[in-house]
């Protein structure tokens, strides 16, 4: 599937058969993936159809209860199943946050990528390097630092109060806004880099040709640049959206644990609630959704390539 999100807009996709001796070169990677990706995924899928053990773990008895629990609640008195949107709303909230982060990353990342890609060749690497500098610091530390900056007693509120603009601190921390900000900041480079790669490969004589054919700067951007670098934009959006959706640290720290995202919900089931099958079921649902999104874009880009 990855080939369809290839950053190269003009790449052809030759189907090459792998020679035998080349297969041996792949073997270690394939073994690793089987052991640490395929096997755990299978376990998760199986666990999601089992009964929870009393002290965590699972009982090896088939049950679709976890999936039922995702959508329904058992009434205490009548023991009837009643539809409950609690978990759906967490999913919905997560999607809104992930989309917000993606849009923010795109709005900030596209001009940044364009700026870097249009620098002279020798300064480009310095700019790219500068983009990666903050990511030398551990994500957890960066997220905590952000919390310190936006909290009620943090510098932003202090300055605003000191200048007399506000009298009471604005509540940034522990809100959805804080989570969105954290996600945006965590994943910005994943937006910048693929778009940069696409723009860097863009033939700028196309831009000249558009100007020559009476296009203003704005219509050149919409009619020529964005369509041509679209594969890069899609790749960037997916690279931000997917990890944002399952993000765990930002909502935990910046949301103060009360604004749950899917990632926290899953973590909670494996830790506090000790309901492994339910956690597994949520993970499977998330995975299915993400794969559907990927499949949709893959099919669309394949269709466009055929045109």
């Amino acid at each position: 599937m990855a080939a369809h999100f290839n950053l190269n807009a003009n790449s052809s996709k030759p189907s090459q058969t792998i020679a035998k001796d080349q297969a041996y070169q792949l073997l270690p990677a394939v073994l690793l993936i089987c052991l640490f990706v395929v096997l755990p995924l299978c376990l998760i899928a199986i666990f999601s159809f089992l009964k929870p053990g009393t002290y965590g773990g699972v009982e090896w008895v088939f049950s679709a209860g976890s999936y039922v629990q995702f959508l329904f609640e058992q009434d205490f008195l009548t023991e009837n199943l009643v539809f409950s949107a609690n978990y759906l709303s967490i999913f919905f909230n997560s999607f809104v946050l992930a989309i917000t982060a993606t849009v923010l990353c795109l709005i900030i990342g596209f001009p940044t990528a364009y700026f870097i890609a249009t620098r002279p060749e020798r300064t480009r690497n310095i700019w790219l390097f500068a983009i990666t500098v903050p990511y030398w610091v551990n994500l957890l530390i960066r997220t905590v630092a952000m919390l310190f900056i936006i909290r009620d007693q943090g510098p932003i509120n202090s300055i605003l109060i000191a200048t007399g603009l506000i009298s009471e601190p604005i509540r940034f921390a522990y809100t959805n806004f804080a989570i969105g900000l954290g996600l945006f900041y965590s994943y910005l480079p994943f937006m910048v880099l693929p778009i940069y790669a696409a723009i860097e490969r863009l033939d700028f004589s196309l831009v000249e040709a558009a100007h020559d054919l009476y296009a203003t700067r704005r219509s050149t951007l919409w009619n020529i640049i964005i369509p041509v670098v679209k594969p890069g934009i899609i790749a960037g959006c997916l690279l931000v959206f997917i990890p944002s959706l399952g993000s765990f640290i930002a909502p935990d720290i910046l949301g103060g644990g009360k604004n749950l995202m899917i990632g926290n919900l899953i973590a909670l089931q494996f830790q506090g609630s000790r309901n492994w099958p339910f956690g597994a079921a949520v993970a499977v649902i998330l995975l299915t959704l993400v794969l559907s999104i990927l499949l949709f874009f893959a099919m669309r880009s394949a269709k466009e390539a055929r045109k």
Binding site: A9, N10, D203, S205, L206, E208, A209, A210, H211, D212, L213, Y214, A215, T216, S219, N223, I224, P227, V228, K230, K307
Partner: protein
């Protein structure tokens, strides 16, 4: 050309500097309406810079550019009624051929049905009507070239700029595209400004040619003017082949110079391109204008060092007494073959009025 006529393009004292490099040095040019005008020169001579300045992709360091008397130097590219055919075509890869051709008109907000009509007109003019729904990547180089041409012509620009449009094509295609470009230029009546480093291209297609070198225009004229009456040694050397012989100038009267050759003989040559106070120069004679004769004839003495049969012509190379080598080309016809053997001592005859006195 009448002085009162509006020029299609008028360039006044245009200069362009990139850092310390002078790409264009005080260039002034007039290009008449409906003209096929060629900027010819070696790479780095400033011809592409000049074209890009007319298109609006480069700003002039100084000078003015007029398009039908309207000063356009300060206008951005999208507000100049000139279109460019790019060297690498620069077709929009995500659009079909028809969408590419329609793009300029779409940006000019031409009504939809007129866009459709003019798009198919432009495509049939370049014989690509049946390819309108293809993507550029599904076309051959020659076809892409013609799409680029149709795209630039469709908005009906006042002037069409062509930046070495044929250089990426193979020889056969290049030759047929020359004829096609010329036909389209006559058919549309649009002024063409064509940039090339290929003198054959320039000579076969152009109404007038500007020969450029080192950021300067060396000479402007018809193909015949430039070939037969070059202004200086650069032009004589760059256009076609020529033989250059150093001479001392004895006198110049009414554009005819009396020059003394290394062997002491005197020769009369045209000197309309020469300043009056110059003492030495070179005479330029085209290989086909020189004649070979037997040793006893009157002429400059030399020895044949090479004789090459070229089908229509035979080419001899003759070394003169001062080690200068001359190329002489004589047509092979019905008459006695002018075939001289290597090592043979002969005379080279320069007919009166054939030699042209030039300086650098």
């Amino acid at each position: 050309m009448n002085a009162q006529d509006k020029m299609a393009i008028s360039i006044r004292n245009a200069a362009k500097q990139f850092g310390n490099f002078i790409a264009l040095d005080n260039v002034s040019l007039d290009i008449a309406p409906n003209e096929f005008f060629t900027l010819l020169g070696p790479s780095g001579c400033g011809k592409t810079t000049l074209l890009r300045m007319i298109a609006g992709f480069e700003t002039a360091t100084q000078g003015e550019i007029f398009l039908y008397d309207e000063e356009i130097e300060k206008l951005p590219a999208n507000r100049r009624s000139v279109n460019t055919v790019f060297q690498q075509y620069a077709l929009f890869p995500h659009m079909t051929v028809a969408e590419n051709v329609a793009f300029g008109m779409r940006m000019l907000k031409v009504p939809k049905d007129e866009i459709t009509k003019r798009t198919s007109e432009a495509l049939s003019m370049v014989q690509l009507a049946e390819f309108s729904h293809r993507r550029p990547s599904q076309l051959s180089g020659g076809q892409q070239q013609r799409v680029a041409l149709a795209r630039a012509l469709a908005p009906k620009p006042k002037v069409l700029l062509l930046d070495e449009p044929l250089s990426a094509l193979d020889l056969k295609l290049r030759q047929s595209m020359r004829a096609e470009l010329k036909r389209i230029q006559r058919q549309t009546g649009i002024t063409f400004v064509f940039v090339t480093h290929d003198q054959e291209e320039a000579l076969t297609m152009s109404d007038r040619i500007a020969v450029m070198s080192a950021g300067k225009v060396q000479q402007v004229g018809t193909a015949k003017d430039i070939y037969e009456r070059p202004n200086n040694i650069f032009v004589a050397n760059f256009i076609g082949e020529t033989n250059l012989i150093e001479v001392k100038i004895e006198s110049i009267v009414k554009s005819v110079a009396n020059c003394r050759m290394f062997d002491g003989s005197l020769i009369a040559c045209t000197a309309d391109a020469i300043a009056a106070n110059i003492k030495t120069g070179k005479i330029s004679v085209r290989p086909e204008r020189l004649k070979l004769a037997t040793k006893s004839s009157k002429g400059i003495k030399g020895v044949v060092t090479q004789s090459i049969y070229l089908g229509t012509d035979t080419q001899h190379i003759v070394r003169l007494g001062n080690q200068t080598e001359l190329t002489i080309r004589s047509q092979n016809g019905d008459g006695p073959d002018a075939n001289y053997e290597i090592g043979q001592e002969i005379s080279v005859v320069i007919d009166p009025g054939v030699a042209r006195l030039l300086t650098e």
